[in-house]
């Protein structure tokens, strides 16, 4: 059975990724910068991530959200309660100082993703390069992953859809979330729709395992914090400019 092989390989892949360690500190890893060839399988040589500088994120601007939803064919249907939102703009207000911060929040592409742990069928999975996806072919729509995700990153499709985009299949009764523009990454593009759309350059996309990448350099310089870091999920999306 071909599928079993895939499953096994996926499992081994995850195991070895965990083994290799996911340190994002600059290290002695020597890597070539160019992306994989189109017919090559993804490997744990990369770990893709995003760095978001909340200081640069404008209040009221939703360019990244619109770009994402345009890119992935997400349209308004029955209202905000049930419509999918792969990325959303969150406004934070400090409870004491009333300091205001703005930032986009999407799937954090956790290295230890609770959504993957709880998924009964294995539909939620982490690719070798750290991108967390839903295999909608085997998702049964139980929504347990949505219960488990600490960031409310996932959406359930509440109605029949049509005219999905070729690179972004989505359908009724299954769960989905930000794919980190996986179709672009597989094409070798070193960016995501949201990153590209931000007028202030508040978002940086890149390989967390490559110490020479822009994202690693910025992280090394100014640090970056995980949302709900206490849960120790080792997220692939990091934030700058949040003081406690």
């Amino acid at each position: 059975m071909k599928y079993i092989d895939q499953y096994r390989r996926r499992f081994l892949g995850t195991a070895s990724a965990a083994f290799t360690g996911l340190s994002i500190a600059p290290g002695i890893l020597l890597q070539t910068v160019h992306a994989k060839a189109v017919d090559e399988a993804v490997t744990s040589q990369y770990r893709w991530g995003l760095l978001i500088d909340t200081n640069l994120c404008d209040p009221g601007c939703t360019d990244c959200v619109e770009a994402c939803h345009q890119e992935n064919g997400i349209r308004e249907i029955h209202g905000p309660e049930t419509d999918a939102q792969w990325i959303r703009k969150v406004t934070l207000k400090h409870k004491k100082t009333e300091h205001i911060l703005n930032m986009p929040v999407m799937c954090q592409h956790c290295a230890e993703p609770p959504c993957v742990d709880v998924c009964p069928t294995g539909a939620s999975f982490k690719r070798a390069d750290g991108i967390v996806l839903v295999d909608k072919h085997i998702c049964i729509g139980c929504r347990y992953c949505m219960m488990a995700c600490p960031y409310k990153a996932r959406s359930f499709i509440h109605e029949k859809l049509s005219d999905q985009l070729p690179h972004a299949p989505r359908g009724k009764g299954t769960v989905e979330a930000c794919t980190l523009c996986v179709h672009r990454i597989d094409r070798g593009e070193n960016t995501t729709a949201c990153t590209q759309a931000c007028p202030n350059g508040a978002m940086t996309f890149g390989d967390l395992k490559d110490p020479q990448s822009q994202i690693s350099k910025k992280l090394a310089e100014h640090g970056g914090r995980e949302l709900r870091a206490k849960l120790k999920l080792d997220t692939g999306v990091r934030y700058q400019g949040i003081s406690s």
Partner: protein, 387 residues
């Protein structure tokens, strides 16, 4: 002690009425399920914020009750109490029926119920949910074998072993069901240390409540008068234990897990939850049935048992509603020290109102359980004959 004799159910009015009600409700549930399936979940009250709604409340309640319903049989075989032995067969049947009813509701609420086959063939063994699927199927099998050892005298020798196996399994199963919530580290409402044990204790009372309704409806009066006193006393103890563990749950949230904002939301806010948790659950679901079972106020035994069973179940459903819906509608913190707002209801308390479709689907679980019980009562000798 002479071995008890058993009889099948006759075509009593209660039998016919149960059949009719069972099938009507089942039909209504089918319409609800079909419509939800056809249209998608937007026609329900569920959303991307409250992802598990009324069907889950009812289904989880049924599943937890199922394991508790086996309790009467366990007292008889595992703890060797002769008094309960004649009551054991029925207890196993009620347990299986409730579990099947609950599972049917969970299944039909899936986004893709057509993928049952995938759910049965693809297992992620790190998922407590996947383990529960195995636990549930195993429970139906074990309780079935146990029932067989009770029905077939040639199997008599295996009865105790089967009883012990089923009893141990049901403990794991109930703890497993609690852990479905317990493992959700993201949410304050659910802590692994308390969810499993709490579900086990709660299951005892709720399972017995269903059992009492069944015997109240179908057991003849003479036989009932022999058992009702002991069962009533047992029920009283179970209800009190359930209430105690519920108090412990809230106290530990408050003192141990620092989930005070959440507790205030559940117990002191302008939502439905304080009504459920201060009113319906303790008063209608605990005090009233205990009073009813003790004093009885001139009701027949059958009426007492059935009525108090129904009250306990109403209380139980209220409690589960607060637990499941309350736990989801309360916002999760995103960054400590900050309050959050967004287009996706960050930082906001979300409202949930179950739609008619969900209620229809959920009631189907009860109908399936009722029909299964009635069929088994008619087919097998489950009801003890009074000496």
């Amino acid at each position: 002690m002479s071995s008890p004799r058993y009889q099948t159910l006759t075509s009593s009015p209660a039998f016919l009425a149960s059949l009719i009600i069972g099938f009507v409700v089942l039909g209504i549930a089918a319409i609800g399920a079909f419509n939800m399936e056809h249209e998608g979940h937007y026609i329900t009250g569920m959303s991307n914020q409250v992802v598990w709604g009324m069907p889950h409340v009812l289904a989880i309640f049924l599943i937890v009750s199922a394991s508790g319903a086996l309790n009467i049989a366990s007292i008889a075989s595992v703890f060797n109490k002769d008094f309960y032995k004649p009551l054991a067969r029925l207890s196993a049947v009620v347990a299986i029926a409730l579990l099947v009813g609950g599972l049917a509701v969970i299944l039909l609420d899936l986004g893709r119920p057509d993928r049952l086959l995938i759910a049965m063939t693809h297992y992620n063994f790190r998922s407590i949910f996947a383990w529960n699927i195995i636990l549930y199927t195993g429970f139906i099998g074990l309780a079935g074998v146990y029932l067989w050892t009770m029905l077939d005298w040639q199997m008599e020798q295996f009865k105790r072993a089967a009883g012990i196996a089923a009893f141990s399994w049901r403990l794991i199963l109930t703890a497993g069901t609690g852990s479905i919530f317990g493992v959700l580290v993201a949410r304050e409402a659910y802590q692994i240390a308390i969810m499993g044990p709490m579900f086990i204790v709660l299951s005892l009372g709720y399972g017995q409540a269903f059992y009492m309704i069944v015997i109240g409806l179908f057991m003849d009066n003479k036989q009932l008068s022999e058992v009702s006193k002991r069962l009533s006393r047992l029920m009283g103890v179970m209800i009190m234990c359930g209430l105690a563990v519920s108090v412990i749950y809230h106290l530990s949230n408050w003192f141990l897990f620092d989930a005070r904002q959440f507790e205030l939301y559940l117990l002191n806010s302008e939502t439905i939850f304080p009504i459920l948790l201060w009113g319906i659950h303790p008063v209608i679901g605990c005090i009233l049935p205990i009073w009813l079972l003790r004093s009885g106020s001139g009701l027949a035994d059958s009426q007492k048992l059935t009525l108090s069973g129904i009250l306990v179940i109403i209380g139980g459903i209220s409690q589960f509603y607060a637990l499941v819906i309350g736990g989801q509608s309360f916002p999760m913190p995103l960054v400590e020290g900050y309050s959050a707002t967004s287009s996706f209801f960050d930082g906001a308390i979300v409202s949930y109102t179950p739609s008619l479709w969900e209620l229809m689907l959920g009631s189907g679980g009860f109908a399936i359980a009722l029909l299964l019980i009635v069929f088994c009562l008619r087919l097998f000798r489950l009801l003890p004959v009074s000496k």
